[in-house]
Amino acid sequence: MESKPGNPLWLLAELTYRCPLHCVFCSNPIDYVRHHSELSTDAWIKVLREARELGAVQLGFSGGEPLVRDDLEILVREAHQLGYYINLITSGVGLNEDRIAALRAAGLDHIQLSFQDSTRELNDFLSHTRTFELKQRIASLIKRQGYPIVLNVVLHRYNLDHIEEILEMALRLEVDYLELANTQYYGWAYLNRDQLLPAPEQLVRAEKATNRFRERVAGKIKVYFVVSDYHEKRPKPCMNGWGSVFLTITADGRALPCHQAGMLPGLSFPNVEQSSLRTIWYESEAFNAFRGLDWMKEPCRSCPERFNDFGGCRCQAYLLTGDASNTDPVCEFSPHRNSVQTAIDGIGQNAKSGSQLYFRDDRNSRRLSSR
């Protein structure tokens, strides 16, 4: 069964954890302030070269907000020369005409713009800054540089009922691709989960509205609706399997099989400043921990679905069951499914009882990581 692992295809470079926004659904680690040191330009260039040599070809620059790195253009140019397909995942804050032109000249292939909501008030509340108008401006700047506009909207309890406005906004902005992604509960989003989890009816309504919209705009905008896995019966095939095709490098140089994995206890994630990516990818204990299928417990171990979903997400298993090698508890066969069900059953009460909503900022990060 166990064959030599394949090579990485996707490299996610989380260039920095600095970010001008403070999204409550941010999936960055809660203790990100502890990882404030950042790789130098040269160290990133080394990462890009080594990963490309291993076979990585899709590259995402993200963060935090990658635009706060003023060497982004240099990194894009290097990546372009190496033959990567380069995606920039940005909130748009810090982007202006000159910067987009420079990134384009350096060889940037694609920009994904994240948007919080379509109503100014809600947007400002959820991202905690006045960014809505800015994003509208940025979207048109992106278009003018000849890029398609790919808009990513994270969905949750507070904006799902505004889906029609979000869709209309996408139409007004002449968006080419619209990704409506239900919140994934990691990092800050997990911390705020009981506030953000939508009622099942909200999801059904939003999906219906999205389908109607799809029909109406037929072909003009490509709309993706990413479901909320808590509300599903089966887990997502997380990362296409651990250590299978995805490689994340954090701002401070740790190599992770997925951008959440840093929180898993008992695994020490190697740093690119100490080892080569080849050693990390093929030989490190962390990358081999959940590779393949041999680590699985029941019910996954004997389930025919294991080849398709790889038992779901290790981080979700850890967060909800305390053991990363358990079946992802969103699975209907998981003996821990009740941990998800309890959260869903509590929807409404939890949100109404006004439990605290934590904005992702340095003060909260410092406070929460010293606990």
Binding site: N7, L9, L54, G55, V57, Q58, G60, G83, Y85, N87, D109, H110, Q112, Y147, P148, V150, Y177, K222
Partner: protein, 98 residues
């Protein structure tokens, strides 16, 4: 069979690679891949041979002729048509009618 919305493809039509799509040889995969925003597909050799010839100017007839001279003895018409249908359906290419 075919939906009214998608007219059948003819030999004079010109396939065009969708914007932001890039064909590239990947040594690590020993294959050509089609790269696009946040995704990629690994192409079979025969698919890659077709995509290589899509330059936004050559009509399908010319692409087929060129393939048949590169791979003599094969009747590739239907294979090419079939691939182009799928590629259009998946949004990899557009077809400009002439």
């Amino acid at each position: 069979m075919s939906a009214a919305a998608s007219a059948t493809i003819g030999f004079d039509d010109v396939p065009v690679l969708a914007s932001r799509f890039r064909l590239q040889w990947e040594p690590a995969q020993q294959a050509h891949v089609l790269l696009y925003p946040e995704g990629m597909v690994k192409l079979s050799n025969s698919a890659a041979e077709i995509v290589k010839r899509i330059d936004g100017a050559a009509p399908i007839g010319a692409i087929v002729a060129d393939l048949e001279s590169a791979f003599p003895g094969a009747d590739l018409r239907s294979d090419v048509m079939e691939f182009l249908e799928i590629a259009r359906e998946r949004g990899w290419i557009g077809i400009e009618t002439r």
